[in-house]
């Protein structure tokens, strides 16, 4: 797969993007947490943060941000923590992330079925 490619990447660059931090609160964001910009990019802002603010003018899932910026998911989580803590983005958390039972509620599944049948 793409392991060789990323292994060849200069790790200093990832270090720079996250200003040296290596961990975000793992539970703060899900892969499909939808991020919405609450402000416009500021002049001189780190380019990745500015890109996120532009991208999230419409709700955008964390995983789509990672794909678009070509950064690992965990790096994007760190960037999003920054933006979220300073109120520059808001987050729409998936309802399923809050549910600790292994099975989704029937009423959610019914809506999924209706949506799929329309495909």
């Amino acid at each position: 797969m793409i392991r060789e490619a990323i292994d060849g990447e200069n790790p200093d660059r990832l270090y720079t993007v996250t200003a040296g931090r290596s961990r975000a609160d793992e539970n703060a964001f899900d892969l499909v947490t939808l991020i919405v910009s609450e402000s416009e990019p500021a002049p001189g802002m780190q380019s990745e943060l500015a890109a996120i603010l532009r991208m999230c003018r419409t709700p955008t899932a964390l995983v789509e941000i990672a794909s678009e910026l070509r950064l690992p998911v965990s790096v994007v989580k760190i960037l999003l923590c920054d933006l979220h803590d300073t109120g520059r983005v808001s987050a729409r958390h998936p309802s399923s992330a809050a549910v600790k039972t292994p099975l989704p509620r029937p009423e959610i599944l019914k809506q999924v079925l209706v949506g799929l049948k329309k495909l």
Binding site: M1, I2, R3, E4, A5, I6, D7, G8, E9, R13, L14, V17, S22, E26, D30, L31, V32, T33, L34, E48, A51, M55, T58, P59, T60, A61, V63, E64, A66, S67, E68, L69, R70, L71, P72, V73, S74, R92, P94, S95, S96, A97, V99, T101, P102, L103, P104, R105, P106, I108, L109, K110, Q111, V112, L113, V114, G115, L116, K117, L119
Partner: protein
Amino acid sequence: MDSRSSELAGGQLGGGQLLSPAPPRASLPLADSITDALKIVIVGGFGVGKTTMVRAVSEIRPLSTEETMTGAGIGIDDTGGVREKNTTTVAFDFGRITLNERMVLYLFGAPGQERFWFLWDRLFAGTLGAVVLVDTRRVADSWYAIDRLEHHGMPFIVARNNFGEPEHTLPQLRDALSLSDDIPLVDCDARQRSSSKSVLISLVNHLYTLSTAQETSP
């Protein structure tokens, strides 16, 4: 398109280009009214057609991304052969389906290989359910995925990606997979939108049965 070559192409796109300028967005923006995102994971070996299935039903062309597991994680998990490495990377593809004005469903195509499972909880906690996509020529590849899903308590169905003359009947395949009778096993052609759609519907029907049984049990 051949599933194997498409997965190769996806893999080559994925890495090694960190921080390069973002290409123009190929994806359709989500509606502002969407508040809830759901996940379904399609698990299967290399070249079995996961990306093909995602592409068949997704409203955006499949995208790929990756997650890294750091040295700290490797110390905790038994990663065997990759122990000497500082990080290991798992790549996965995804697409999406807008279900209604409020809900969107993300479909992830995930590799079934061993190192992937160390990232399951981090990436796929809260997933509705999974589809194990089986290649009839490499049935044994699916055993590990089925075992791991059971271990994680993740409900799933099994779909045989079958676009030729089937060598075996579904009951024979069920036997080969040691699959219990209450887990649905279906045939599909991952290249066909209607076929891939009905696999997803089979999964959600199965989840619905499990979920209502759970609610009505004392």
